[in-house]
Amino acid sequence: MKKIAISKLNDLFSAISKEKVLYIPADDGANQARFTPWQEGLTLTDKLNTVRSAKDLFFPQVENLVNFKNSGKAIQIIENRTEPQPFVLFGVRACDCRSFDILDRVFLSDPVDTFYKTRREQGVVITLACNRPTETCFCGVFGIDGADPQGDVTCWMDEAALYWRANTEKGEALTAALPMLTDCAEEAIDPIAAKIRSILSKLPLNDLDLTGFNRDRMMELFNSPQWEDLSQSCLGCGTCTFVCPTCQCYDVQDFDDGQQVRRFRCWDSCMFSDFTMMAHGTNRPTQKERFRQRFMHKLSYFPNNNDGIFGCVGCGRCLQKCPIHMHIVKVAKALKEDLK
């Protein structure tokens, strides 16, 4: 266990950014936080979490894949891949950190997504325990501990100091390059963690019970008559999907700029009417099917295929941002009724 005084935080950031590009959650001037490359003068946000999740850094909204050019009858393939620079992501919350495990299962299983893989290799994740969890937090439901997050390095903060514990080799290596961190006792964080846990135990969504969402009940859930009612007010926007740390669907599109074709991928949302639209032209026809897909994926298909791990980490972003507040907690609680 290491520590550094809060007043020296700037020195710490400065030292890290000398090694690698450092991203910290900072206010963006629109009453919200986002991961921003650190530079002199940038300070940590007071906000609990960023609006866009930490997945952005590993799985960006838009990524160029390759360009093509026609020359006569031949197609010229132009590689335009840029290798990501090593970076450090500071201030990731426990929920977002867990989301990387979920994304890993998707992108690092065969066939491996090399874009994602290189970013994962190049990135060092420094998590920060949640001093002030909010009412929309329900990471505890998924066995995530907001008082002791994972990551390459775990940090805790109180008014006086930042405590630092390296968890992995990557974390150790970074720690070794930061002499301003001084040793301290393991117990130093106990009061902070205890305080956090006392708040976590009082969170209003702790009663969310997701037992029973298993494979043999899948068709039952799929055919639930409740989807009609649950989805009736859904606007079909992509807010929930785009702020979600675990949503990983993307579309591959071509853009013809007049000289060459640029193939890129970009986030897609199962809430959109043209999601998975192919030549047959009959993808999910109404919002009910699209809505059902998103929640069935998170609550049933994903855990069925991934050792029971849900495709949700309880970060609460969709609870705060859905324009009509039809979020995963409401859906899960409604479906739970069917399973009784």
Partner: protein, 323 residues
Amino acid sequence: MQERLKQKALELLENGTADRILGWKIGEFFYDLTPAVFKTRQEIQEEFVYSPFAGANLSKYLIAESRKGGKVAVFLKPCDSYSFTQLLKEHRIWRENVYVVGVQCGGMCDMEKLRAKGCEGVLSVGEDGENIVVETLYGTNVFPRAELLEDRCITCKSKKVVTFDELIGEQGTELESDRFSQVAQLEAMTSQERFAFWQKELSRCIRCNACRNVCPACSCEKCVFDNPGSGVRNKAAADSFEESLFHIIRAFHVTGRCTDCGECSRVCPQNIPLHLLNRKMIKDMNELYGTYQAGADPDTKPPLTDFTLDDEEPSIVHTRGGQ
């Protein structure tokens, strides 16, 4: 107020005026209300809510709801009633299948503002005169209600319910609001400053389409931006041009039909002040073609489907506003 609405909903259901009620449904917390259709007495009694967090404009749902057969009763706040009337004007809602109950509105509260005040872990709110008392995991906070109002409500243009079959509460009037002051500020900037302002705002856009999908004026069966054959479909925001394109075209397409209900800015997950685009168009139309309020009545011709022989030439842009 909530009780009066609830009683009205029950009454309409029971006396056969309507066979279903469109209203706001209780959520996990006090603020996450969802628009919903209520079909039974029990649902209304247990789940119907009308509170300062019932901001969602229900009028757009009536496009689909009024076509389903039977009769639907709906509660419309003053600004929702403008959207409703505008949709009637565009023949998008089947009026005969809708029973409108107008509700007076004291302005809606904004959770974002509560959070911006550092209020985390909110569990409940109570009203104490003009104050809102907020219970949180970290203690109790008291704020004047005015400080929590949504921006669109601070500059409320009208408390008048335009179209209704019956009214709960007093009929209101159109208000003098300075809703164009921010637009005027932007107009007074230099071109370069305006460009920087909008680049900063629009660059946050994540192309979730919430602004479009919530907008009562955006009621095309298929949007050009969802059409793979249009050449402009993009989910990507791959270049700043695309964000500008989307928002310019959207704002322009609702010009003359936008009632300034403010839903676009309310739902934007990135807090982009999208209403400033629509208001600019409204302000321009007012100044160039005479005052016009979309949705204020079912008959007046909107400026873009009308003309006069001596309209200003487009070059007037050179002589208006800042540099």
